[in-house]
Symmetry: C2
Subunit: 148 residues, 2 copies
């Protein structure tokens, strides 16, 4: 359902149904201008269905790619220049997530005034499940999406 | 940036930047399945730029079309069957909006327990500006979007 872009980023193999969440993570509402396409629940050879996001004239920062990995662990990031894919890589979900998310437990020491960076262990990858390294609180995909 | 669908609805000539709001109005998050594409800020002959939304296997109800008219008064609705456009019509923004929206003024009589249907006069079309027929309160596009 989606054709080519000249320069920019194609985020492919997004977990079906999560393309709009990827836009949200990237702060894209459409109102800043710049061509953007989101295709949801399209047929995919490998996954049955998938979402795809194409962003004209923007290359993602590593911190943005790391956030996408949290909700779409099988996504691939393709950098396009002059209609050619110049870089293609899978997002990588590390086994420990540091600093990106806040623990949802208000009593967790990572939410106190102590200078403690948040830290979570990835205990399940798809859909994601995280355990806070400080208080043991479990965070699921919906909890994570609320922070973006 | 977007190619054809077999059966469904194409909402074309959406005010640029408002394609995701159209999805919101239609209750589309992508998580219910069904192929959906939103293209934002693509080139348009008539408008400079426009947004387009394509929804596989869904034909819009009149009430849904009326809501879209509130935020994208130049949109066209194309019903597609077997890759052919079978119906093409512009959305129509009436001069009076009845019942779709709530007045934002909590003291307005339309928000009391009286059996009064809300009513607004369209005092500007693009971007939309409405005046409540009961209390004179003005509602703008952002106020309207919050209700969907």
């Amino acid at each position: 359902m989606v054709s080519k872009i000249r320069d920019g980023t194609v985020i492919d193999h997004i977990t079906p149904g999560f393309g709009l969440d990827v836009l949200k993570i990237l702060g894209i509402t459409g109102k800043a201008g710049g061509a953007v396409t989101a295709a949801m629940n399209v047929d995919s050879k490998g996954l049955g269905h998938k979402d795809i996001v194409k962003i004209q004239d923007r290359e993602l920062k590593p911190a943005e790619v790391n956030k996408i990995a949290l909700i779409a662990s099988k996504a691939t990031i393709n950098i396009i220049r002059n209609f050619e894919v110049t870089t293609k890589k899978k997002v990588e979900l590390p086994s420990t997530i540091r600093g990106i998310l806040k623990c949802d437990n208000p009593s967790c020491i990572s939410n106190s005034r102590e200078p403690v960076q948040s830290q979570f262990a990835v205990i399940q990858r798809e859909p994601i499940r995280l355990r806070c390294s400080f208080c043991g609180h479990i965070m699921e995909r919906e909890d994570i999406l609320k922070q973006f």
